[in-house]
Symmetry: D2
């Protein structure tokens, strides 16, 4: 499993993932992107843990980085991903300054939408989320740009529906 | 339907909901809490719409108000709700200064957990979310306090599982 | 002092301030706007207090409300206030669910800029801030719209420099 | 000037600053810490620019990193820095995905307080801020821990008042 994970990671240029990351953080499954993150002060709340909304901001950053890795830009006047659905599961609480790994993969895509899986790892799974993203331009759904579509399928292993 | 909605709303002391709210915002179904909200500058992003994380902060406020209405307090050293799961659906985009209605209900509860439904309304449904909340004290799940349990069942219509 | 404060407050339509607010919160000086606020969960950090950035978001809301009270709208393609300088003093810490009063006044204005004073009150002063705001359109400074200028001087008592 | 800047940077272990950073970003003056940053989606607002509060969160991260570099931890039950005053000047607007350099230095210190200068650079100065930080434990000011005091003076060049 870790084997396939690392080979998948090696395909990403931007994020310097190494085979040992999977072992270091207890990652399971195959992921397209992996980014180290240290929990920030602003991400924690009065309970002393990462606030449930902070996870979604972390993955907003990862989603932006992924979109950029597809040769696209995020701008109000360009086709870009808009969150249509989220299913999040908070498995284990995280604390200030915890060192974690954020991962992303692209399970599938359709004409105007695609799915992302996100996860946070530290000695195994801490958080996981499935997102449905619709490609939107000027307020209406629009086909995924061809180059982005090609890379999601060929590089990220996304399955067309 | 609006009839049952309003009678449910009348049970809440804190939020001054009136029968006409359901009509004004196109609310469907029966809800225990309803709060008017005007979309804030800080809730919008570069797309010109409410950011997907901002909805969850709005409902954090509503969840806090609901917990308080159960005679409880939110403090690190007391039993309190922690988000374990979220299922959110972004139905229609909202813009800066939109006037919306936020609603909350409590579909069910178990010994140490309960569920919340959240929705945002403006000429009908704009956003909906199901949350599983675990009652946690000192990092471990703990039974819902008896008074909170009683009010969730009797006042909010929560169904014990 | 409280006398002048209340008469100033009465000039504001939007925020239902009464003479007793000054006494209730220990307000000193004369203010044009006053809004009650209960400290939110999302505004507090690991220290158990309101995070220093949260005060500035509270006053972003008040600044928006004030701009609207001048007959203006906040939109990317319209003249609107942009923060050029801030001087903030954190006098006493605030905690979750504290009931506070937020106040705003407009000490002075020039052709393309104006100043705001902000304060948070609870048994006296907790936070104060002076802001220099530049009226900006399409990325360059632009004269304050005449109607806004008139109201800032006549209603809010702003002194032209 | 750049000479002194780089030698100062070399003293920091954590942040891999090189002499060329000063030239790349148009940095002026001598700084103790320098961190590259790419403007995030969540930091921008409807105006299409970095929101004025986002700068302060960026420097909260830098302040935390600096405190850690002094051999200290940030915890509710330990002596830690609390913001007492801020003076911020927004010099030039920044946009989504701009590559900037964040810098920090420690101009001076007293028994229970110290000062930080923060700045954001991109082809010269974009933002600058002076902060007065009070060392607080259990809600009251407390002397700066000796090791932190020593490093601020010897490594960061802070001048005792």
């Amino acid at each position: 499993m870790a084997q396939r994970f690392s080979s998948s990671l090696e395909r990403m240029q931007e994020n310097q993932a190494t085979p040992s990351l999977a072992e270091e953080f207890g990652v399971e499954g195959e992921w397209s992107m992996a980014v180290r993150h240290r929990i920030r002060w602003a991400e924690c709340d009065l309970y002393g843990h990462v606030n449930h909304t902070a996870y979604l901001v972390m993955f907003e950053d990862l989603r932006v980085a992924h979109w950029r890795s597809l040769g696209q830009v995020l701008r109000a006047d360009q086709a870009g991903p808009v969150v249509a659905k989220l299913e999040a599961r908070y498995v284990r609480a995280l604390a200030f300054e915890d060192e974690v790994l954020l991962t992303l993969r692209v399970p599938g895509l359709r004409n105007t939408s695609f799915t992302h899986d996100y996860a946070v790892w530290k000695n195994g799974l801490c958080f996981e989320c499935k997102a449905l993203l619709v490609c939107v331009k000027d307020g209406v759904s629009t086909p995924i740009p061809p180059e982005a579509r090609r890379l999601m399928i060929e590089r990220d292993g996304a399955k067309p529906a």
